[in-house]
């Protein structure tokens, strides 16, 4: 792997959305509500790796995924692709970027145009990006269907004729049609049955090693992320709390939030189950962020500094980063919960 230059780097990206601006607030002369979806997120994606992004719903992981493919523009900071700021891409450069960084969407029902057949969906991508001369397009469509293990007669059918898992595979085929380097998968399988999840995930893994793809895998299912990721970033309230290798995170998390998140995941073995409450308190509102650590209100290890000073992401061990004032958190013995942790052996 080429470790010198990350293929995608996220430098201090913030994204804010304007919330509802009620008449009351207008009359009172108050400013509109601002939702802080991403706060100063810094992250690197290396060529050929799978980076998992996990967090509770509402933590900004989907917003981050959308910033990576430029469906959202960052308000502060920059997303760089091979060192170049993607917000500056225009014309052919932008099209080349679009071709090389593709996205697969969460909703298998909304992400395919219901009025286009599979061959029209794939053919359009091939045609617009001039991936093949026109006479070779049908052959390439057949190859792509083969690649995602759909039958050849799928080409002439409409999305509503397929199951959720098959549609996600059509989405994968569409992304692969333009031969991208990076695939951003936003909750790829969270809308699917568990049995179908395994199929789709294993397909993605095989395609990744076969086509040397870099994958950014956004999910809330920890076991799934552990199964497929090389590195994992844990997000909370629009911030990255910890970046760690997959094994590092799941054996010895370096941030109290990561630890709480892992403990909150239900055990598969009923004998191992306990009724220990992992976290107390509610998520602070992203409309009104606390000045210190965003996790301070729920953290069992909180002390005064946490409430006033926001910790920044800083290096821990090898390839480990955490945003916590407790720099030696998680250094001793790894916890023994769920020794394999594998969902799909």
């Amino acid at each position: 792997m080429n470790a010198t230059l990350p293929i995608l780097s996220i430098d201090g990206v913030s994204k804010r959305f304007r919330g509802p601006y009620s008449l009351m607030r207008r009359l009172k002369g108050e400013p509109p509500l601002i939702v802080h979806a991403l706060n100063n997120v810094t992250l690197e994606v290396h060529r050929g790796e799978t980076l998992g992004i996990v967090g509770e719903s509402g933590c900004g992981k989907s917003t981050l995924a959308r910033c990576l493919v430029r469906l959202h523009e960052a308000d502060d900071g920059a997303v760089r692709f091979e060192g170049k700021d993607i917000s500056l891409f225009r014309g052919t450069e932008r099209r080349a970027f679009n071709r090389r960084v593709q996205m697969i969407f969460q909703d298998p029902y909304g992400s395919l145009n219901p009025r286009m057949t599979v061959s029209q969906i794939l053919g359009e991508a091939l045609f617009v990006h001039r991936m093949r001369p026109k006479p070779e397009i049908p052959g390439r469509i057949a190859e792509l269907l083969d690649l995602v293990r759909l039958p050849q007669d799928a080409a002439g059918r409409y999305p509503h004729e397929f199951s959720g898992g098959q549609r996600q595979r059509i989405g994968i085929a569409r992304a692969l049609a333009v031969e991208p380097d990076v695939i951003v998968a936003d909750e790829l399988v969270s809308a699917l049955d568990v049995s179908v999840q395994a199929q789709v995930i294993n397909l993605l893994l095989q395609l990744q090693s076969r086509l040397h793809l870099t994958v950014v895998f956004v999910a809330h299912d920890l076991r799934l992320v552990r199964h497929i990721s090389h590195r994992v970033a844990v997000m909370y309230l629009g911030q990255v709390m910890e970046v760690n290798t997959s094994e590092g995170l799941f054996t010895a998390p370096r941030h109290p939030y990561s630890k709480a998140l892992l403990e909150a995941a239900p055990e598969l073995d009923p004998g191992q189950r306990n009724r220990k409450v992992a976290l107390r308190g509610e998520l602070p509102s992203p409309l009104n962020l606390p000045p210190g650590c965003p996790f301070a209100g729920r953290c069992p290890h909180v002390f005064d500094r946490c409430r006033t000073e926001r910790p920044l992401l800083s290096p821990r061990g090898r390839g480990q980063f955490a945003a916590c004032h407790l720099t030696d958190f998680g250094t001793p013995a790894p916890n023994a919960n769920n020794p394999t942790g594998l969902l799909f052996p």
Binding site: R115, E124, H160, R174
Partner: protein
């Protein structure tokens, strides 16, 4: 054997069509035949006077009777199909195309464009449709051509509003984002992806609007602002007969029945088209 049956059934798909579309289509098909070849079925010249049979009641010679000039009402009703079907199409196709294009852009662009468009809609729907059309016709002068212009100037707004609302829904769906991630141009996303999913309400409205256009054309004909006498047009005919309602009801009633029947055909067809174009999920 069963495969043969399946093939035969798929070859004969008429049964699979919505029933309302079939019945509406039959009515409109017959109307179109009458509109294109009226002289085939009309027994008399629609403008020929016959002073020997003034205000004659329905009989075998004149099944719908004659009017105060001795003109055969049946022949006039049949010949009026030509003008009224023309009105149905020409008064609506311009607004449909223009309104759809404007609506697609406005719905996609949003923001300031949507605000400007919203004010145009408000200004238009404040006035009753007929009053606005009459005002425009009275400026331009009576006649069919000017009527098309007047209906077009007002009518496109309704199509644009329908399409814009639907595009606004569609542009937020993931498949639109997938197009953006693919680097497709906004034009391609609007017309290739969003519009086919957004145009159905506009098409359904278009079909029913043709019925409304016939009613409007007849209203204007009745008021002397649309088709001009002695042309055979249902509204003109009803106006001609209004002084003889007590003595010769057939002059006005048969053109009225023709309007209702054609309107019914368009409404049924509109329902059927809606059923046919419904997206399966």
């Amino acid at each position: 054997m069963s495969a043969d049956w399946a093939a035969a059934r798929s070859a004969f798909r008429l049964k699979a069509l919505p029933r309302s579309l079939v019945s509406g289509g039959v009515i409109l098909g017959l109307s179109l035949v009458l509109a294109l070849w009226p002289s085939l079925l009309a027994p008399y010249d629609p403008t020929a006077f016959d002073y020997s049979a003034l205000l004659a009641p329905p009989s075998w010679a004149h099944p719908f009777g004659t009017d105060n000039f001795g003109r055969d009402v049946l022949s006039r009703v049949i010949h009026a199909y030509t003008i009224d079907m023309q009105i149905a199409i020409f008064a609506t196709i311009g607004p449909f195309i223009f309104g759809t294009i404007v609506g697609a852009f406005v719905g996609y662009a949003g923001g300031l464009w949507e605000a400007i468009f919203g004010r145009i809609v408000d200004a238009t729907i404040t006035f009753p449709f007929l009053v606005l059309v009459i005002a425009i016709v009275s400026v331009l002068g009576p006649g069919l051509g000017n009527m098309y212009v007047a209906v077009g100037v007002v009518g496109w707004v309704f199509y644009a509003r329908l399409v814009a609302a639907e595009i606004k829904v569609q542009k937020r769906l993931d498949y639109a984002d997938a197009g953006r991630v693919m680097g497709y141009t906004p034009l391609r996303i609007i017309f290739r992806h969003l519009l086919p999913n957004a145009i159905t309400p506009a098409i359904v409205y278009w079909v029913t609007d043709m019925a409304l256009a016939i009613l409007l054309g007849s209203s204007l004909g009745y008021l002397g602002l649309g088709a001009q006498p002695p042309a055979a047009e249902w509204g003109v005919q009803i106006a001609d007969g209004k002084n003889f309602m007590n003595t010769a009801w057939w002059i006005s009633v048969f053109p009225g029945v023709a309007i209702v029947l054609t309107g019914l055909g368009f409404s049924l067809a509109g329902d059927g088209v809606a059923e046919l174009l419904r997206v399966r999920r």
